[in-house]
Symmetry: C2
Subunit: 243 residues, 2 copies
């Protein structure tokens, strides 16, 4: 359908994939709108991994490597767009993977679990309990998963849930292409990059980084540096956008 | 559901309305993603009508007033968000209203026609013919509607179709919150404002403007002025966004 040499090929393929997953009930209407917001910000970032995002991806890898109990929290959009990349990152980092949904139904949890498993992800299962400081059913998570994690990677997370995880003392790595979102501002570290580029970049870094470099990276710039760097990229893009 | 004093009340209500219309088949999955892109740009514009957008809205009103055959082209997202505002603008400007869809099926055309009619819009009907220089079924429109219009208002239009209308020598007024979109760059005049704010503002201007002011407005800045002004607004917003 979409010619592979189209300048926005990746973006258009992702959009079709998400629309198909919406028809299957894996992605919600709200998830489609959220994806559109992400498309806009990725467009403004030039649809590429910026230098500062690549730096954040290396720090994210160091955080996963130094974690005692790392967990990757996966929602519908992330599963639809990046199931194989989640499998790859799990293989590299040995993190647990938990399905955690904003619009949670058991049916959707099951569908997303099956999608992830078919891509080779080992998904944590069990009885979810209302353990997070959020209203039900958003409070639900697994005791052996997110609840007992010290470091949680949340691609495409809602602001309230990101804040809830931080309030429990966890180190939260967000992947969010909008540097102004509440998630981006609240997380311990925000990778301002599109999720299908960010996850493989983190996996590569997990494999490359040795213990010394991991330690050095852990003492690197705080989150606001990366948000400002992303805003600077967008402003630079806008400066010449109509030339 | 959403408290009326929420700072982003209008935006959240619009999103819920669109998700509901998606479940009814009025809005497509692609339409939801497009709405999300729009939300991002509206956020960057401060979710308000800027001074330059208000100016463009007055010129749009003058263009409608001076047209011999003005037509408003309505798609699924516009109908879902702004059916009453379309009725108001039709009443003020006496423009014809035609349903014209990117993802066209007769079933969707009928659903959207019924939605518009229930809001008081008089919708042009008839047998659509492949009259536009686009591949079928995107070429379809009504001979007595868009095809014979001299001025077409296209809220939330696709870039190819905007270009096709311009190539037929029509004056095209776009409403598009993304000043960098192909639609925004291709239209005769682009109102860079959110559709539910833009349409009522154009209706008000249609009622206020006299013939002399209309003539004066018709000789006003060209489209690139309004695109640059919108970009400047976004850059100004980003400058202080993290303070």
């Amino acid at each position: 359908m979409i010619p592979a040499d189209h300048p926005r090929y990746r973006s258009l393929v992702a959009r079709e994939r998400l629309a198909a997953c919406a028809r299957e009930g894996i992605v919600t209407p709200e998830g489609l709108a959220a994806h559109g917001r992400g498309e806009a910000f990725d467009y403004l970032l030039g649809e590429r991994t910026t230098k500062s995002a690549l730096y954040a991806e290396r720090i994210a890898a160091a955080m996963l490597l130094s974690a005692r109990r790392p967990v990757i929290s996966v929602n519908g959009n992330t599963a639809a767009l990046a199931a194989p990349a989640i499998a790859e990152l799990q293989g590299a980092s040995r993190a647990r993977v938990e399905v955690n949904l904003f619009h949670r139904t058991e049916e959707r949890v099951e569908k997303i679990t099956r999608l992830l498993e078919s891509a080779g992800v080992e998904v944590l299962t069990g009885r979810a309990e209302p353990l997070l400081p959020l209203s039900h059913p958003r409070a639900l998570c697994l005791r052996e998963g997110i609840f007992s994690a010290d470091t949680v990677l949340v691609p495409l997370e809602d602001g309230d849930r990101c804040a809830a995880l931080v309030s429990l003392g966890k180190r939260v790595i967000a992947i969010d292409v909008n540097p102004l979102s509440r998630t981006a501002r609240t997380a311990t570290l925000t990778v301002v990059d599109e999720v299908t580029r960010a996850l493989p970049a983190i996996s590569r870094a997990v494999r490359e980084i040795g213990p010394e470099e991991a330690e050095r990276l852990m003492s690197c710039p705080d989150n606001s540096y990366f948000l400002r760097a992303a805003l600077d990229e967008i402003r630079g893009f806008l400066e010449h956008a109509l030339d």
